[in-house]
Symmetry: C2
Subunit: 121 residues, 2 copies
DNA sequence: CACAGGTACTAGACTAAACAAGGTACCTGT
DNA sequence: ACAGGTACCTTGTTTAGTCTAGTACCTGTG
């Protein structure tokens, strides 16, 4: 369902992304799904985001609080803990290092495909 | 064991990387490990690369041939198939799209300390 | 000749994480 | 009451990188 149709690529990226969004502004799950879609992850499923948030909470990277809403059930707001900020810094570094390695390679034009034995007619 | 100590980030990246290296030059497993280390993936384990190659072969993205070696056991040389070239183009596109979404976010400085609690609408 | 060390590949169990599908429940407007 | 949007959670499946261990070949040295 994602416009980027390789789920594997997202792995390891979603957590820092969520932490970054939460560092920018406290937010709740449903809203985070929308914010992720807004920045381009149009196909992200809520079944992907909620477990990721639960993971972050379990690991102590975010703290939560419930806030009643006028438009539906209570919202669970997340914000990074000190640990979360540290993790964000670290994983951002990891991501940037990786792109510095990978992008220069993949961005370069693919080497020409060796010419198959030409059968002409 | 990787200098980038988040294994998850590599997921989905290794295959295109291998295909790219093989498009550049036919190569065998052991050499590919060294080439990956050379471009910066210093911590990559051979136990990671061989299964990835087996996967590519099983999926028909690469073809192989055995060549005797003077310095050890026979080497299994890999080269991309037509399918492999197609997959390379596609997954390179996926990677570049993802970095275009993620990098502009993560590269931006992390927003400072907690904003006041969001008021609900 | 034995054996150490580099070369080269393979196999199996483990793990993390995205995703699909399904479910619960709240709230507003008709 | 009920439809539709809001909001959250859980379970099972699949993919793929990692760890560990093992096999086996080859050259050089004592």
């Amino acid at each position: 369902m994602n416009q980027i149709h390789d789920p594997q690529l997202l792995k390891g990226v979603l957590s820092p992304l969520l932490l970054w969004l939460l560092a920018e502004r406290e937010s709740y799950g449903y809203e985070l799904v929308q914010r992720l879609r807004q920045i381009g992850l149009t196909g992200i499923a809520d079944g992907t985001v909620y477990p990721a948030l639960a993971r972050l909470e379990r690991e102590g990277r975010v703290s939560t609080r419930l806030v009643a809403s006028r438009s539906g059930p209570a919202r669970k707001y997340y914000r990074p803990t000190d640990d979360g900020y540290a993790a964000l810094t670290e994983s951002t570094g990891n991501w940037l290092s990786l792109t510095e390695i990978v992008s220069p390679v993949l961005a370069r034009p693919v080497p020409p495909q060796p010419a198959p034995p030409a059968e002409e007619n």
